[in-house]
């Protein structure tokens, strides 16, 4: 599904260069549920942006669903992003002046689907996340958990092969977080590949595979338990925003 080989990404200003990704190599198989963790500034979000075709990279190669995306035009990248990838953000990122229905409709609009098909997909997605009765609600009228479920509905409405979730439970209490994880697992069971960036060891433990990123490098993709034990032994626990 996702194959990065020696990908590097450097942010440059007049004064400094920041190596966000260094020879980053990772392969995620189709249908996998992968958790990505690492300290703040380690490159997790950059990885997610590159994987989601929101940012370009300087060197290396990247294949998404078998297609080399290294030198695609903006139009082609946007089309691929729209068709293959669903995003879920920590801050939900719903559009405040559109109702729930129209929020879920956004990616489908860019795919130029006919109204009937859009309607069918939106209904199905909202039904899956348990918000079919709230189509006319505005985001501000929903709780955080509900807003994230709308964001999940928006991510899956286009039936993407890959969902990229950046700390999707970061703004939720533990009960809501569990519900969201349940949903993601359910979606994964339906065949969608999920890459989840998280600081929460409990959530990461629920993934099939764990990736640890430090200084822009994949340093460990060992089972989570072994890594967490090593971390606790070394420096204790704690998390900050990626």
């Amino acid at each position: 599904m996702l194959k990065m080989q020696d990908v590097s990404k450097v942010y440059r200003t007049d004064l400094i260069e920041t190596h966000a990704l260094r020879n980053f190599s990772l392969e995620v198989k189709s249908g996998q549920f992968v958790a990505v963790s690492g300290p703040s500034g380690s490159g997790k979000t950059t990885f997610l942006n590159v994987a989601g075709l929101l940012e370009t990279f300087d060197t290396g190669t990247y294949q998404l669903d078998g297609k080399d995306v290294t030198r695609l035009s903006d139009d082609a990248r946007s089309r691929l992003r729209n068709e293959k990838i669903g995003f879920i953000f920590q801050g939900f990122n719903l559009i405040p002046d559109l109702d729930i229905y129209d929020n879920v409709d956004v990616p489908l609009r860019y795919r130029r689907m006919k109204a009937a098909e859009r309607h069918s997909r939106i209904s199905k997605a909202l039904d899956l996340v348990g918000l079919a009765s709230r189509t006319k609600h505005m985001p501000s009228q929903l709780s955080g958990g509900q807003q994230q479920r709308v964001a999940i509905a928006r991510a899956i409405a286009g039936d993407p092969a890959l969902i990229l979730a950046d700390e999707p439970t970061g703004n939720l209490d533990s009960l809501m977080a569990r519900q969201v994880m349940d949903l993601l697992e359910q979606i994964n069971e339906m065949g969608t590949t999920i890459v989840l960036v998280t600081h929460d060891p409990e959530l990461a433990r629920r993934a099939q595979r764990n990736i640890h990123v430090v200084d822009g490098l994949v340093i460990d993709s060992a089972p989570y338990e072994r890594r967490i034990a090593a971390e606790e032994a070394h420096a204790g626990t704690g998390g900050s925003a990626a």
Partner: protein
Amino acid sequence: MLSYYLRLALHSLRRTPGLTCLMVGAIALGIAACIVTLTFYHAMSGNPIWWKNDVLYAVTMDSWDVNEPYDSQHPTLPPPEMSYKDATYLARSDIPRHKVIMTELAGMISGAPGQSVPMRVMTRATTHDFFAMFDVPFRYGGAWRGNDLDALPEIVLTREVNERLFGGSDSVGRSVLWNGNRFRVVGVLREWHPLPRFYDVTNGAFAPPEAMDQAFVPFSWVTALQAFPASDTSCDHAESVADYRRFLASDCIWIQMWVELPSVARRERFQAYMDAYWAAQRRAGRFPRPLNNRLTDVGQWLAVNGVVSSDSRILLRVAFAFLAVCLLNTVGILLTKFLRAAPLTGVRRALGASRRQVFLQHIVEVAVVSGAGGLLGLGLGALGLEGVRALYAQDNTYGMLAHFDPVGVVWALALAALSTLAAGLYPAWTIGRLPPAGYLKSR
């Protein structure tokens, strides 16, 4: 997608009603200012007989003093009028398809049924080709016929005069007293007020209707009644014009002459005819200045006579500068507004919107703002013109010019469209180029 973008634009504009009003208002004010000045400029600079521009020519000869040009500010230009002897000689030529010599007379009409007091009418004494040459439309009857040198006492009235004298009915065949002489009405015009009055800019290209030609009589009646022109007569040297015969024989200029020359060959022949006459007269001791016989088409005629004042041009520039300032403000507001909403754009990009789609979405929003500004500007422009009419209620010249014609509407729409491009391109392009990733996290 257009309807979707339109919906998004309305959402976005509703989100910031204050800014929206500010932008619409700025564009509307700029467009209104341009409409008002453009309407005046267009009315003043328009060629009211453009379809004959390449066949109608004002005839001028430089008969003036050798030491002093007629117009010291434009020393190369010959006088705009001619003397009686020159005009009548040139009018004998059969080279032009139509030829007209004319002057403006003050007249009094009386004797119409029910008319209690005489009516003052500005009267154009002209030859009968005038009507065919300038495509003058008739409601009743037509031009007088026959010999220009010995025409019958016949008169053509404008629609307005016929309305006042005969209640608008067909007055052809009826009689009126013009300056105490009985004239038979042979024609009544439809509405006809060419602006500018190209054929006689000397007596005012933008005179109000009551100072424009209200009646037309055959030119031969000028001499028959020994009438003097209504406006001043220009003479390059002191001449005794104590009696009418001497006046006609003098070098004083008071007659306008126009010819219709439908081909280059005819034009060249008439030019040669003029030049030959000039040479003969020069040999006889007249025309001391260098050869400067001119056939000037309508467009050039309006230009060389400065019909469009420099004030109008300056005002037009000021109005466009004002529009530019309004647009610059709008660009600033749009840029701020779009950048403030950049995180939302970032979300849309993440969900699959391309740069092009983001650009189009924002350009549609700008088009809505500009469209609203254009419509409001149209209304304000109409109000502005109404205000000008009210302000110059005593001066019908401005009243006549301050009409909101279809050209004004087209200009307003074109300006609105141009404003869309001018105000919206940069902000829409900028927002489309923003890297989405940076804004996603900030939300």
